[in-house]
């Protein structure tokens, strides 16, 4: 009768998924550009302290990372419960820092060497005794540019 009578075909039209790859690719490119690769698996606790007078670190190729903290729960049986240093993937002692810095330097060309910064990622519960050992070793190899890497926030508790 009426022209506008609904068709009683029951079946819903299929949703087109043709644009799905485009959406996923968009997400993919977002994550590829906005994130950086994880470089090492941490075997230690690493909650960085807070600070707000910070500067952003420059490009990753000019940075070497030195981690310190208490070993994680599951490594505590083998590594003990006291503060340890981790360089790349290895648990180390302060005397290994020298070799580590020299290796890092050798991997870069000499023009970039003066931009090379040591990023100290140290857990907030580490005692200063270990931190000064690290600093002393760095001074001995003339790696004087350091960055106390922190998270953003006000360190003074309200």
């Amino acid at each position: 009768m009426s022209k506008f009578k609904k068709k009683k075909s029951g079946e819903l039209p299929a949703i087109s998924t043709a644009a799905l790859p485009d959406i996923v690719f968009m997400l993919l490119f977002f994550f590829m550009t906005a994130t950086t690769m994880k470089d090492s698996d941490l075997k230690i606790e690493n909650t960085l302290p807070k600070a707000d007078q910070t500067a952003k670190l420059h490009k990753k190729e000019f940075i070497m990372y030195i981690y310190a903290g208490k070993p994680n729960e599951r490594y505590r049986a083998t590594l003990g419960g006291s503060d340890r240093i981790q360089l790349a993937d290895k648990m180390s002692s302060p005397s290994d820092i020298r070799q580590f810095v020299l290796t890092e330097r050798a991997q870069r060309n000499s023009a970039d060497e003066k931009y090379l910064t040591a990023s100290l990622k140290i857990d907030k519960n580490v005692k200063m005794g270990l931190v000064s050992d690290i600093k002393l070793e760095l001074r001995k190899v003339e790696q004087l540019k350091v960055n106390y890497t922190t998270t953003q926030g006000n360190p003074v508790k309200e």
């Binding site: 993919l28 302290p49 910070t54 500067a55 670190l57 907030k124 005692k127 200063m128 922190t150 953003q152």
Partner: protein, 205 residues
């Protein structure tokens, strides 16, 4: 030869494209971390087996002691960390001699002569926690930044922190003349408020 001489080539099935893209996406989600690292930049002093003890007048030194219970002692008075920034600013720009024409200090005769002479001496215990150390560092850097930014804004209309970041960025090398242009500005501000923060080796116990 072909059966359909002039027909269009068969369409490539792109149905699994989404699956491939998802796979890549998940790979990147798992292997990467978001966010840029930031922190407090510091230049360590060169290693010297027998350091020379400089002759500095007592009033030009602000002694900050941190003990193993993370308490602060500034100039032999117990100070809360919240007050440290203001104490440091007052000390740095005190201008006791009156030779510093850009300072706004109180000109107290028992405090520092000028920002060029002022030294902050930081002393921690071996058992001090790193968190407190960073908090103290942060407050002291904040005091310097406050003074440098004030002076830099007055002169160049740009904060010192910004100026210094661009100057030290390796990417700046690509822009002809930019580094050369910034260098005297950065040097000038650093000269006006030199960061003289001395750290003693923590006592071992």
């Amino acid at each position: 030869m072909a059966r359909k001489g002039r027909g269009l080539p068969p369409e490539v099935n792109a149905g699994s494209m989404a699956d491939i893209a998802f796979l890549l996406l998940i790979f990147f989600l798992v292997t990467t971390t978001i966010g840029v690292d930031q922190g407090i930049n510091r230049l360590l002093p060169r290693f010297d087996p027998n350091p020379v003890v400089p002759n500095i007048n007592e009033r030009n030194i602000l002694t900050v002691l941190v003990n193993k219970d993370n308490q602060l002692l500034v100039e032999e008075k117990l100070v809360d960390i919240k007050e440290l920034r203001q104490v440091a600013i007052d000390f740095l720009e005190n201008n006791g001699k009156g030779v510093c024409n850009y300072c706004e200090g109180k000109r107290d005769a028992s405090s520092s002569d000028s920002p060029l002479d002022a030294v902050i001496s930081l002393n921690n215990d071996g058992q001090t926690s790193y968190e407190t150390y960073i908090a103290v560092q942060n407050e002291l850097v904040a005091a310097y930044n406050y003074l440098r930014d004030r002076e830099s804004k007055k002169r160049y209309g740009m904060s010192f922190t910004e100026l210094d970041y661009i100057y030290n960025d390796p990417a700046t090398r690509a822009v002809e003349g930019l580094r050369e242009d910034l260098e005297p500005k950065v040097k000038k501000i650093q000269e006006m408020f030199p960061m003289r923060l001395s750290e003693a080796e923590p006592k071992k116990n």
